[in-house]
């Protein structure tokens, strides 16, 4: 009984680890790559990916002026660039930059 309980506890811990919570703040930069959770120490490159790592009411912060790409947003997030910087979105023909 105790062994089964331990297994169950272990399984729950693994499940919790696998479903990592989205971050309240994620970061984009010109040197970023779209892997991991987009912390400030390892920023991501694209807005669409960063949104998948961001809490539904979180904030995506653009650290320096860089192309971040478009996205469809269905959560109540804030997307903001640091003062003096811009998140660039180049819209291709017959497309939309940001859809809400």
């Amino acid at each position: 009984m105790s062994f089964k309980r331990s297994l169950l506890t272990l399984a729950l811990l693994v499940a919790c680890y696998a479903i990592a919570p989205a971050a309240t703040r994620t970061f984009l930069s010109s040197a970023g790559t779209d892997t991991g959770a987009c912390p400030r120490t390892a920023p991501c490159a694209g807005l669409a990916y960063a949104l998948t790592q961001t809490d539904p009411s979180g904030t995506v912060i653009v650290l320096d002026t860089t192309a971040i790409g478009g996205a469809t947003i269905s959560q109540s997030v804030t997307i903001t660039a640091l003062p003096g910087e811009q998140g660039l979105i180049k819209v291709q023909p017959s497309t939309t930059g940001i859809t809400i």
Binding site: T78, V91, T96, T99
Partner: protein, 188 residues
Amino acid sequence: MALIGLRIEGFGAGSTTGIAVTNTAARVLVRGCDFTGLSIGINVTGGIVDLINNNIVSNTLGVRAQGPGLDQDFNAPGPGMVQQPTTSLVRLDGGNVARNATAFEMQDPGLAVSTANYRQNGGNNAQNIFLRTFNGPLTANIVGNNRFVNVLGNGEFNGFTSPNGVIGTYSSQSTNNNLPFNLFPQDP
């Protein structure tokens, strides 16, 4: 939801839209952003959008709203009637709206026909785009557009003779043609 410090460019390519807001439940703040070279800068077909200190420059159409705006006929919507829900609403404060072929377009700001609850043309909701004024003038710099505003579809604007006379204005958080500004709790 807030979008701050973005630059969205279309480079003059066909059928490009900077931001499309389609969710009628959306409350969006757009501040300090640039929209240029687009077919449509901001296109709102559902939702409420505050545009503050943006540069909306050199687009075919700067700002477009489609769908019933706010029913301003608060006092007398009619016996047994209630105010018509807002589908699309845009408020613009500060910034530049310049060198667009058309600066603003309001489509269907009212209803086509009366219903059991809502007056035809939605009471006084002839507008779904509102520009802020301060001591008279608009707070935004609106210059060099080939056309200021285009209106089409359903709404009470049909009673106006000049299309330039129909765009909405508001002057502060407390007085603005009866607009209830508590609709925008996220205002900075």
